[in-house]
Symmetry: C2
DNA sequence: ACCTGAACACCGTTCAAGT
DNA sequence: ACCTGAACACCGTTCAAGT
């Protein structure tokens, strides 16, 4: 790991790694290409070799964020498929809220409106992956009678909205005295009740 | 309205007005103090007289956004208080989603994590106003038997989360083929069903 | 292929000085 | 009281040139 004149080829990875740290500690506004270059001991123009512009770097972070999130969601959904669907949906919701408050700035990036044109497609696709994990559980719930009929993806959109919105309220300090865990349980209970057939 | 050497005293209002236009058309990233000053024909240092820094201006925009939103919500909640509670809750939800997709960048500001220290309190208070409008309707619904028992503010937080999250999904292009109006109706139906007593 | 150094056109913020 | 002009310390992005 001795420093040569160059960053021995892994500058791209080093940039992403350092950027994620800065994003977590200082937010997206504190993330500058020049600052990144400085910390990694390369010239300020070096990052441009690996990321066309700042937005492309931010989008790469967002994509990697979705990758992490989706892995956690898939794991929470219960790979093997045991347990009642309602409980697994609730686990999914708690996992999402945990991730969201733990990676506030990253999540903001993941759902930001502005993206580089070439990252936009991949970002959307990763988001769909998240929704699909939920949708598959909805479909299973429909078979076991825990979930009302309807397009599973649309039901997933509603469930996703609930937990995502809750996380937003939490980081915006709008939950006040309500502990986030309590608010999450109430939201999930209302959501699951509303999803039941005949509700 | 002839131009003197100064901006005849209404520079603050002019800055806010112009800033809101730019926010809507170009997003927060496109909003610079120097650009604003240029468009209004004042020196680049003039805005500092009225807003301590850029963040203070952004927070002022966010506060004004909440004012507009709360007025709309209050109106949709039915000032006089006629009609079934469920229908008025649904109207509230549709109003929120409409506002959210119409003022994407503004809403992002309203729920942003970073704020100037002196605006943070007022911003939170305005957010609480939004929640209170919903909470009052929840309380009314509990009396008419349309809404389950529980802390009205907590129920409001759940309802707010649902519609806010839905708006986020919409602007992130994650609703795909589902028209937003359709997704909104489904979300509101599931929410209201989940809120009913004994659900 | 990968990086450097200089250059260009921007920023936000501050502060003496003007009216 | 309100604004200007200059100054400072940053940015992102580009591009010839180096190895």
């Amino acid at each position: 790991m001795a420093d040569g004149p160059y960053h021995h080829g892994n500058l791209r990875a080093a940039l992403l790694e350092r950027a994620e740290v800065i994003l977590t500690t200082s937010g997206a506004e504190g993330l500058t290409l020049r600052g990144l270059a400085r910390e990694l001991g390369v010239s300020h123009a070096a990052p441009a070799r690996h990321f066309r512009d700042r937005q492309t770097l931010l989008d790469a972070l967002a994509v990697s964020g979705f990758t992490t999130l989706n892995a956690r969601l898939a794991s929470a959904a219960g790979g093997g498929g045991g347990g009642p669907v309602g409980a697994r949906l609730a686990a999914l919701g708690r996992t999402y809220v945990d991730f969201a408050v733990e990676h506030t700035a990253l999540l903001e990036l993941m759902f930001a409106v502005k993206h580089a044109d070439d990252s936009s497609d991949e970002l959307r696709e990763r988001g769909h992956e998240s929704l699909l994990i939920v949708a598959r559980l909805m479909e299973e719930g429909q078979q076991t009678g825990a979930v009302r009929p309807g397009e599973p993806v649309q039901l997933a959109q509603v469930a996703f909205s609930t937990v995502h919105g809750l996380a937003t309220l939490a980081v915006a300090s709008l939950l006040d005295d309500t502990p986030l865990a309590e608010a999450t349980e109430l939201a999930l209970e209302i959501l699951l009740a509303g999803l039941r057939p005949g509700a």
